[in-house]
């Protein structure tokens, strides 16, 4: 009887304290937003999202398990644009995915080996994959809209069959697709996507 009670007490206290801290931060953020953002009559606070991350990236994200797996997925930036009260957001791919970070050939288990090394030493810098890929950026993967034709009725597109899967998966996060999409969504009112650097960090505006 005492054992489950102890576990329940631990879980309840820990959960409530964590929730309290999270709610406090959320309320702070919302208050700050209310204090500094002015909306015209009829404007809305929540932006309209025109593209989301690929589902595996939405789940794994930039979490610790993703890192331990060797960062196989893509990394995105949230694109913002529009006017006060009519804001659009989108997920644009900045760092393309690379499955080779997990399995680098048949003779090497890539980052799974690195995870084992990490467990032996507890030194996270030992993990493989936590450095540069030494591979060139796939320009089409971040910019071409051609694979998004596969979402349209009566249209299909294929380039290099072995890579079509990966291009199709990320077709909604390319600069080409997003520029076309925002143009369609706003009847041409917003028609350009512009990459820029702000405070050393990549930013893309609609």
């Amino acid at each position: 009887m005492a054992t489950p009670l102890a576990h329940i007490a631990y879980a309840v206290v820990y959960s409530l304290m964590s929730k309290f801290a999270m709610d406090r931060k959320t309320h702070e953020a919302k208050s700050r937003e209310r204090a500094f953002i002015f909306l015209p009559k009829g404007g809305k606070m929540e932006p309209t999202s025109i593209s989301e991350k690929y589902w595996t990236d939405a789940i794994l994200g930039d979490s610790m398990p993703a890192a331990l797996m060797g960062h196989p997925g893509a990394y995105y930036t949230t694109v913002r644009g529009g006017e006060v009260g009519i804001v659009y957001t989108a997920q644009a791919i900045l760092s393309p995915p690379n499955a080779n970070r997990i399995f680098d050939g048949l003779d090497r288990l890539g980052d799974l080996e690195g995870t084992w090394e990490f467990l032996q030493t507890l030194d996270p810098t030992i993990m493989f994959g936590m450095d540069f890929d030494y591979t060139n950026l796939d320009y089409e993967l971040v910019s071409s809209d051609l694979h998004s034709y596969n979402d349209r009725s009566y249209y299909t597109y294929s380039s290099y069959p072995a890579q079509d899967f990966i291009f199709n998966a990320y077709s909604h996060s390319t600069l080409g697709y997003l520029q076309q999409k925002i143009k369609d969504e706003t009847d041409g009112k917003f028609d350009t996507i512009k990459p820029t650097v702000w405070m050393d960090a990549p930013n893309i505006f609609l």
Binding site: A11, S15, K19, S95, L119, P124, Y139, D145, Y157, Q180
Partner: protein, 471 residues
């Protein structure tokens, strides 16, 4: 970005164009696969057939090529396939059309290069200067007879447009050289920017992950090592108290097995203690970094993906991680070790008394029945002793030890907390070169609270181990 006058000051437009490479690179790309796989792509559009058979139009579905604006008809276009809303600058390498007669056959018609003047891409649309049917029948003389003689339910065209994704630089003397040069410069500029974005994002993310994993691992390892050592010490002390209770007669042990277990069980060597501390630390690091991390991201993101809000995501994640904590019983290595020794003792006893008990299950039943009976008898005896005040010496020893035990545990928790606080602050000083900043007060408090709760959990495990050892 808004349109209008801003368009005139924008940099060269680089999207929806083929990548321009020098001729040598292009040659390498086309020779690698002995074809143009790496430099082309095929856009296929299902187009509605407007052919009339037997006086009526055939059944068909697809993009309507006759949907032309008056201004387009004035320019002489007879058919149109819309590709993009304005921007589409990929050159057409070739066009082929499949005439699909459903339920019968498909006839492939390749449009030769000599017919390239019959189509063009303007403003994101592919225009034909004659209808698709006329073009098909001109290229393939027998096609109309084939269609007339074939019975089918529906007919449509699959227009395969082979596009140039990568094109070679044509040379400075070409009429197109200036346009290509501008585009190549724009593409190179944006490639450099996108490559910077790629490197920056990947580096920043991996650095953050190294930081987070390292911090979590270090804190968990230290916390577990400290609490495991405390548990080991507590287990050792409780064993001593248990043995003393037996020796002093506070607990009257009649069972041969119970006496053996009480007197021998739990005597772990120093090497075993150190090994188990390391084992606990590694086990906990794995659970914190891998198990909890996986549970949290899967629970939170899946909940939000199926439409749940952040509060639901939090509670589901929290329940799952709490269940994991309860199931894995952090710091339970010592408990497992004690249980293992207990089992060994029991097995040895069975070997020696096999004839009497027959099986481990039978022994277990007999053992617990005996222990329960013994406890009941002891309680009755003690109550009687207390009532009669006949054994003042045993009563005093028993009461004092209880007070000592409770005081020790309370002080252990308090000093454990203080010790942890100090250790965490020292770690902050060594790893960050400074004590925690006031602005991180809540964060640090939560982390410290979390670890202290884990210690509390282990304290409870410690109590359980003592209890198991004592009974």
């Amino acid at each position: 970005m808004r349109g209008g006058n801003a368009d005139y000051t924008l940099a060269q437009f680089y999207l929806y164009h083929p990548v321009i490479v020098d001729y040598e690179t292009y040659k390498d790309l086309t020779s690698e696969f002995k074809d143009d796989t790496l430099v082309t792509g095929t856009l296929t559009v299902r187009v509605k057939s407007l052919y009339e058979k037997g006086g009526s139009r055939v059944l068909s579905a697809g993009v309507d090529p006759s949907d032309l604006l008056p201004v387009e008809l004035e320019r002489g276009y007879k058919a149109k396939i819309s590709l993009s809303d304005g921007a589409f600058y990929y050159p057409i390498k070739s066009i082929s059309i499949d005439v699909v007669m459903m339920g019968a056959k498909t006839i492939h018609v390749f449009i030769p290069p000599s017919y390239m003047d019959r189509y063009e891409i303007v403003g994101g649309n592919l225009y034909f200067t004659e209808s698709i049917e006329d073009l098909l029948f001109e290229v393939n003389d027998d096609l109309e007879d084939e269609i007339q003689s074939t019975s089918f339910s529906k007919m449509y065209y699959k227009v395969h447009i082979k596009l140039g994704r990568v094109i070679p630089f044509v040379g400075r003397d070409s009429a197109n050289a200036e346009v290509q040069t501008q585009m190549a410069l724009a593409q190179n500029t944006y490639y450099a920017i996108m490559e910077y974005f790629n490197q920056y994002t990947f580096t920043k993310t991996t650095a953050s992950m190294i930081d987070e994993i390292g911090y979590t691992a270090l804190m968990t390892a230290i916390s577990t090592a400290i609490s495991s050592a405390v548990i080991a010490l507590g287990s050792y002390l409780s064993k001593g108290i248990g043995q003393m209770l037996v020796q002093k007669g506070v607990i009257n042990v009649q069972s041969d097995l119970a006496a053996r277990v009480l007197m021998k069980n739990g005597s772990m060597s120093l090497k075993g203690v150190i090994t188990n501390i390391a084992k606990s630390a590694l086990q906990d690091v794995w659970e914190e970094v891998v198990n909890d991390g996986l549970i949290e991201i899967v629970a939170e993101n899946v909940v939000s993906m199926v439409g749940g809000n952040e509060h639901w995501a939090y509670w589901i994640s929290n329940v799952l991680t709490s269940a994991r904590e309860s199931a894995s019983e952090p710091g339970g290595v010592f408990h497992e070790e004690a249980s293992k020794k207990f089992q060994e003792e029991c097995h040895q006893y069975i070997m020696e008394n096999e004839a009497e008990y027959g099986s481990f299950t039978e022994l277990r039943k007999a053992f617990w029945a005996e222990i329960n009976e013994q406890q009941s008898t002891d309680q009755q005896n003690r109550a009687q002793k207390e009532d009669n005040k006949r054994d003042w010496k045993a009563f005093l020893i028993s009461g004092s030890l209880k007070i000592l035990g409770y005081t020790g545990k309370t002080m252990g928790i308090i000093f454990g907390w203080l010790n942890l606080m100090t250790t965490l602050n020292v770690i902050d000083v060594f790893t960050k070169g400074r004590a925690p900043a006031p602005k991180n007060f809540w964060k640090n408090l939560m982390i410290k609270y979390y670890f202290s709760m884990k210690i509390f959990n282990r304290e409870y495990t410690f109590t359980k181990v003592c209890y198991l050892n004592l009974i």
